[in-house]
């Protein structure tokens, strides 16, 4: 597809131009700077999210013990150092919201789609630098609003990250459903708008601004992943927005979309005819694709990092693309598996079980392809590679328990128990998070022109990996024992007293895991200023971003944009001395491009 007509920049080469501090670092329209802004904001929110999880893990392991740290951080919400039950629910709610949306969606997609799409497809920048800048700043504003919601008098939203009404609709039902919930909804509305703007940019850029020779079938798998993720986002986020708007109307304008026949705090409310189940459908219509919006970029990043570090082509490129498309399509028709016992017609349960178990197939194909890529490779075990291998490991473990949960019958006894918590943390909280880490370690030289310290990277990986399994593997047993999630304490039912030891073990692993992330933070910040200066292509990778100069310039390349002559995975191709051939290197005499 010709890209000549699509060139929008006046000068057809990269350049430096006079910038002020504000236009370079704050209101930048350069995709590379915007990607760093997303990363920093995402990491900052991640620190808050992890800190919250450590607080409620302390509460779960030692339920009746006062903690000094509670008094310091929670103030009036922890009288005499004992956590208040309402704030426990607020912590799990905001933890979930921050981690899913602010860290794993914006922090992952926002960072890497922005950094890599123009550089890997051979474009000067995103299709619209202005919209890109606006999308970041809207993300920033939504983060600020979410953080502000922590400080309102009655507390932040506390109805779970899923915020089902009527609990989330009625301030009388729970203090956090007052101003805290309003601010949550405002924050999320802005977040969704930001995400849509970003996604539109990514889609338009990938379709229109690929360099000469960069056909869709030569695209690196990162780009396929980011592109398809953006499409899923555009299809599903507006539905969450609609749910949020209808909820705002029920809360503030007396409508009855989700509410009917309610008696609370001594009075019969006026609402008639609505249903919470409608909300659940609208929420999960986004909610399920959302987890694939979280996961697909991580999988794309993994493909790239494993191929580069294995010095081998990613196995089964076509199957990998097909599975991304299959996962994307199927992800829009499985949402009801979150609602098997919601009271909806059981027939729907059958339909959703069928579609849900289907989605296991492309996921399995991807896992097998990653493993086969490692076979007979020459594995460069850089920290990024370790995290990518770790991602495959936890993706398999977590994905397999999805087969249990996706079966409507089995879901009857494990729905909303710790079995579910273990499952989604393994696939999202660990797998996708590993994707984020892998991406940071791998593209740090591209983002900051310096290398991260590899020994600290190894330390970070191994401690995290052991603790990740240590936290979430035993958790499956607590769930199978019948323990519900979102319980402030297990001590109300003596039946669960024998789970106390397991909870303590989980919390200890969680605390160590939290400490290990400090190693990463230290490495990240220190290397930004004092890391070894990077060369242009430190990982000897094939993709185009490594042909751009180390020092950033607007327009990415000083001269013409490289033209592409081959796919991204000519690693260890027979007949060549070097074990990699970048995409812009023309075919040599008699060489054939791999037909795939």
């Amino acid at each position: 597809m010709s890209t000549e007509a699509a060139q929008v920049h006046e000068e057809d080469h990269g350049h430096h131009h006079k910038e002020t501090f504000v236009t370079k670092y704050i209101f930048s329209q350069d995709h590379k700077m915007i990607s760093k802004q997303y990363l920093i904001t995402g990491l900052f929110m991640g620190i808050i999210g992890i800190a919250m999880s450590l607080l409620f893990r302390l509460q779960l392991a030692w339920p009746e013990q006062p903690f000094g740290i509670f008094e310091v951080l929670l103030g009036k919400w922890a009288p005499d150092g004992v956590m208040d039950p309402n704030v426990y629910l607020a912590l799990v709610t905001i933890h979930g919201t921050i981690m899913v949306f602010f860290v794993l969606t914006a922090g992952l997609s926002g960072t890497f789609s922005n950094l890599l799409i123009p550089l890997q497809i051979g474009a000067r920048d995103m299709a619209s630098g202005l919209l890109n800048m606006i999308s970041y700043w809207m993300f920033f504003v939504s983060s600020v609003v979410m953080v502000i919601s922590l400080f309102v008098e009655a507390g932040p939203a506390a109805a779970g990250w899923t915020i089902y009404p009527p609990l989330s609709a009625l301030p009388q039902a729970q203090p956090g459903s007052g101003t805290g919930m309003t601010l949550w909804l405002v924050s999320m509305a802005i977040f969704i708008a930001s995400s849509l703007l970003g996604s539109l940019n990514y889609i338009v850029t990938v379709i229109n601004l690929r360099t000469k020779g960069m056909s869709m079938t030569r695209l690196p798998l990162t780009i396929w992943a980011f592109f398809v993720t953006a499409i899923i986002g555009v299809v599903s986020f507006p539905v969450l927005l609609s749910a949020a708007l209808l909820l705002i109307m029920d809360r503030s304008f007396g409508t009855s979309f989700f509410l009917s026949d309610i008696f609370i705090q001594g009075e019969v409310l006026h609402y008639q005819g609505g249903s919470p189940v409608l909300y659940e459908h609208l929420f999960w219509f986004l909610g399920h694709p959302e987890v694939y919006i979280v996961l697909l970029p991580a999988l794309g990043i993994t493909s790239e990092i494993i191929a580069t570090n294995a010095r081998k082509p990613i196995f089964g490129y076509r199957a990998m693309v097909a599975s991304i498309l299959a996962i994307a399509f199927l992800s829009t028709i499985v949402w009801g598996h979150h609602m098997f016992i919601s009271g909806m017609n059981p027939f729907l349960g059958s339909v959703f079980t069928f579609t849900t178990l289907l989605i296991a197939i492309p996921s399995a194909v991807k896992a097998f392809n990653y493993i086969t890529t490692l076979w007979k490779g020459n594995l460069q075990l850089n920290p990024a590679m370790l995290f990518s291998i770790g991602l495959v490991s936890t993706f398999i473990t977590g994905g397999l328990t999805g087969i249990i949960l996706g079966d409507s019958t089995l879901d009857i006894n494990v729905h909303d128990t710790y079995f579910v918590v273990a499952h989604f943390h393994l696939v999202m909280g660990i797998s996708a998070l590993y994707g984020l880490f892998a991406g940071v370690y791998h593209w740090f030289p591209k983002m900051f022109g310096r290398m991260m310290n590899k020994n600290l990277g190894y330390l970070h990986f191994w401690v995290t990996a052991v603790c990740a399994y240590g936290v979430f593997f035993p958790m499956h047993f607590i769930g199978m024992a019948g323990l519900p999630r979102r319980y402030y304490t297990n001590t109300a039912f003596p039946y669960f007293d024998d789970l106390a030891d397991i909870n303590v073990l989980i919390t200890v692993f969680a605390l160590v895991a939290g400490a290990a992330q400090l190693v990463f933070l230290y490495n990240f910040i220190h290397s930004m200023f004092y890391g070894k200066e990077a060369e242009m292509n430190p990982w000897k990778s094939n993709t185009l971003e490594w042909t751009a100069p180390v020092e950033h310039m607007h327009g990415n390349w000083p001269g013409e944009i490289p033209h592409v002559h081959r796919w991204a995975y000519d690693y260890s191709k027979p007949g060549f001395e070097e074990d990699f051939i970048p995409q812009h290197i023309p075919l040599k005499e008699g060489e054939e491009e791999l037909q795939h």
Partner: protein
């Protein structure tokens, strides 16, 4: 004070790490680290990958050895046996896949750890292989789906019949009530707008103009006759709750504005379950923990805890507010005779509102 101490320790550790890294780098030979993995790094991390596989296996085996006793005992309902069988088959399947794939992943990471001078194999695709590992999961999952759907349809199809006991489970912030249909087997109409009738004595909002409601019995303890199907009709007064009865493999959301239903047939009485060897061991373990706790309580001037005796659980399983973790109602499964005796002693709605 503690916080300051911990914070200082963390800062000092960070500084120590920084200095150690610097010293280490300075102590290296002229060659400055490229921060890219070399043969030594690959060798070490490859071996650690294999060790990690062992860790995964050991963790799995340890968890089953240490934690099997917290798992639920044999199902106390008739469909529960089908549920458990499906669960075991599914688990066997996923454990097989887990064992094999984790082994391949970590073993390859070890076996093919990089060395300068080695060359990787240029192996980009194999359609036959892709076909095989697509078709096999398809067939396996299809089998699992069909089996699962058959069981699901069986459990979730509730046919109205004369033998079944119809009980309403009424959820509110933060307790449960149960309403029996009485001799006519029909629950009277009810709605929250009737709650304020009769000076608050109308606990679940029965519509007093519906004669079916007069013989309804509202209680705060659920008694179920063994061997008889019970059809639960769930209601909620305020927000979403969920009636979760894990021993019976039963769960259903309670939705305000809607009546949801779930049915099962209890097959083990409370007394019988108390005599189950697994349950005896579990109760013993719990009482040991409780007596240790009691020692602490008595030492600090509080009263000791009562010893624990097993009762079936009814748990709220949908986040519903501050006391979501403490919505209690006892479930007792007993013989038909004991059940009849008990229900005869309860007041009907007509008697309550007199």
């Amino acid at each position: 004070m503690n916080v300051l101490l911990i914070f200082s320790v963390l800062v000092l550790i960070a500084i120590a790490l920084w200095q150690i890294t610097k010293i280490f780098e300075l102590s290296q030979e002229k060659k400055v680290s490229t921060q890219v993995a070399n043969d030594k790094d690959n060798d070490l991390n490859g071996k650690l990958m294999f060790a990690f596989l062992i860790f995964i296996y050991v963790l799995t085996l340890y968890s089953f050895w240490a934690y099997s006793d917290v798992l639920l005992p044999e199902a106390a309902s008739e469909h529960g046996g089908d549920y458990d069988q499906l669960m075991w088959i599914s688990f066997a399947l996923i454990f097989f896949v887990q064992t094999v794939t984790q082994a391949l992943l970590h073993y390859f990471s070890y076996k093919y750890r990089g060395e300068k001078g080695k060359k990787a194999l240029f192996y980009a695709d194999n359609d036959k292989l892709e076909m095989i590992w697509t078709i096999i999961p398809v067939i396996t999952l299809a089998g699992l789906i069909l089996y699962g759907l058959y069981t699901w349809t069986d459990i979730m199809t509730v046919e109205e019949n004369d033998e079944a006991l119809v009980v309403e489970l009424y959820a509110q912030q933060f307790n449960w009530k149960a309403r029996y249909a009485g001799n006519d087997g029909v629950l009277g109409d009810a709605n929250v707008r009737f709650l304020q009738d009769f000076d608050g004595k109308n606990l679940v909002g029965i519509d007093a103009t519906d004669p079916n409601g007069f013989d309804d019995v509202v209680v705060q303890e659920l008694h179920l006759p063994v061997g008889r199907e019970v059809i639960f009709k769930m209601r909620s007064q305020d927000v979403l709750h969920s009636a979760y009865m894990p021993h019976f493999r039963a769960q259903m959301n309670c939705v305000p504005g809607m009546i949801t239903e779930f049915a099962f047939t209890p097959k083990t009485t409370t007394e019988e379950m108390r005599l189950n060897p697994e349950m005896i061991a579990k109760v013993k373990k719990i009482n040991k923990i409780r007596s240790e706790k009691s020692k602490e309580l008595v030492a600090s001037g509080d009263t000791a805890l009562d010893p624990y005796e097993f009762d079936y659980l009814l748990l709220c399983n949908k986040i519903c507010g501050a006391s979501h973790y403490n919505m209690q109602m006892k479930i007792i499964v007993e013989s038909e005779k004991e059940y009849e005796k008990w229900i005869a002693e309860q007041q009907t709605f007509a008697e309550v509102i007199q």
